[in-house]
């Protein structure tokens, strides 16, 4: 008699995904599987299609071919379970909104866009802000926060959503080192509790030190797997055209 072991589905699975912007092919037949419950980084040189890859997976790029599964399902069936933290410059600057209002957005997919939030929602919002240390900034306008504080607020939104998969696009740009380390700690503990986190990132040093999994991209997948196996001199040379830094300790 055999027992079937039900493996949890991949956090993100792309099969032959291609995408183009204004006639230029940015992703060319990308196939990759990112395992669940890991802190994963998508790395590669500028223009490698890192952002495009996660945006394509989230249905944010108009012309995409290929097949995408998030948490083993098509996007439309897992919208509530997937949280997206976009690049800071794709969020409206100088918008009149307070920190707590941003975090509350995380509850809208659950509650509906026209209904009031419940007390339960308010508690989740408060707990999420507490978790990333921004509870005291609740009533601050978002445009008066520092880069690090803003990023904490956006992560709190993902936490309030209670998502099983969090996808972040360049989350540590314009963020101080202390905040980066604190946020990585929160993300790591999420993964230990079975959540999956995928971050587009460019600092290869942190990827080696703090991430469980890495995908090296240069229009197509150069390598994927454990960071130490992915970020080898050979792979980096293929992706960047030259080894950018001696990463080996």
């Amino acid at each position: 008699m055999t027992t079937t072991v039900v493996r949890p589905p991949s956090a993100l699975a792309l099969h032959e995904v291609s995408a183009s912007y204004g006639g230029r092919t940015v992703l060319d037949g990308v196939s990759v599987e990112i395992p669940p419950a890991t802190l994963s980084a998508v790395v590669g040189p500028n223009g490698a299609g890192k952002s495009t890859m996660v945006k394509a997976a989230l249905g944010l790029v108009p012309s995409v071919r290929g097949h995408v599964a998030l948490l083993g399902e098509p996007l439309r069936r897992v919208r509530r379970r997937v949280a997206y933290v976009p690049q800071q410059d794709s969020v409206a600057q100088d918008f009149p909104i307070t920190a707590v209002q941003v975090v509350e957005m995380g509850r809208y997919p659950h509650r509906g866009w026209l209904r009031r939030l419940t007390r339960h929602d308010d508690e989740l919002v408060a707990a999420a802000m507490e978790q990333v240390n921004v509870a005291d900034l609740a009533d601050s306008p978002i445009d008066e926060l520092s880069g690090g504080q803003r990023q904490r607020v956006f992560l709190a939104r993902a936490l309030a959503q209670g998502a099983d998969l969090i996808i972040l696009d360049e989350p540590f740009t314009a963020v101080d080192a202390r905040t980066e380390s604190a946020l990585l700690e929160v993300l790591t503990s999420l993964c230990e509790n079975g959540r999956s986190v995928i971050a587009v990132h460019h600092d290869l040093r942190t990827v080696l030190d703090r991430f469980d999994h890495a995908v090296l991209l240069a229009g197509t997948v150069i390598a994927a797997g454990a960071p130490a196996d992915v970020l080898t001199a050979e792979h980096l040379e293929r992706a960047y055209g030259m080894a950018p830094l001696a990463l080996n300790r």
Partner: protein, 295 residues
Amino acid sequence: MIGWLLDALPLSYPDAVVVVGTAVVGFVAGALGPLAVLRQRSMFGDAMSHGTLAGVAVAFLVTGAKVPEVLLLGATISAALAAFAMIALERTGRLRPDAAIGVVLSVSLTLGIVLLTHIAGSGNSEQAGLNSYLLGQAAGLTERDIVLALALGAAALAVLLVGFRLVRSATFDPGFTSVAGVPTWAVDAASTGLLALAVVLGVRTVGAILMVALLVAPVVTARQLTKRLSTLVPLSGAVGAACGAVGGVLSGRAELPAGPVIVLLATAVAVLSVTFAPRRGIVARMRRRRTRVAR
């Protein structure tokens, strides 16, 4: 009901009509203005406003009469066509948005002026006053105009109120909102529609050329005074209403076109707010910086 309000005001009947009429138009424009300013669509609104002129002229040429509702319908159709043309130029012609706006704005204004000039020369005695659509005129407002503006304005504001979170989220963070399952293109289209309505309602009073200022200036004023969109919308509406009402009366007294007077007033208020607003104003920020340096 409007009649009662007009009688209750301590003004002569014609002045009361102007005050109430321009206040309604100003409120609607101010309250819907954030849909232009915060979406960085101010010039898009300007081009739609210039586009109304040709529609007014064509509506008059077709019907041969100056029925406000018919002219309004013409203005709406041509504003929508202008919006459609801009989007089409951006999408298919791969034109940058500013270039698309520039083309549509100048072409539609030219068309409007050519048609109005043609009508003026046609000897049709009905056409007198059609020119006021260019620079606006508050004196010609009637009770019927007010009722129409109130009804359409209230409907537009109700739509904004119901969809408030959708609009706020889609404008602030379109990526998140789309991933959450909202068709952001639909929110965008609805916002543009509401904006078109505000433009069309105001065009007769403020004029096609200057209408955009009544969408933008009250928002700039109010933005300095609040950190929440839910306060910005009514506050901006109130500023728009005040500028509209005062400017409308002043222009009548001074025998000047209403558009420029209202716009100068709204701009002056915006400059005051940008300079002296308690928290975000230039003076307040300079003072904060000085205290920080002193420490």
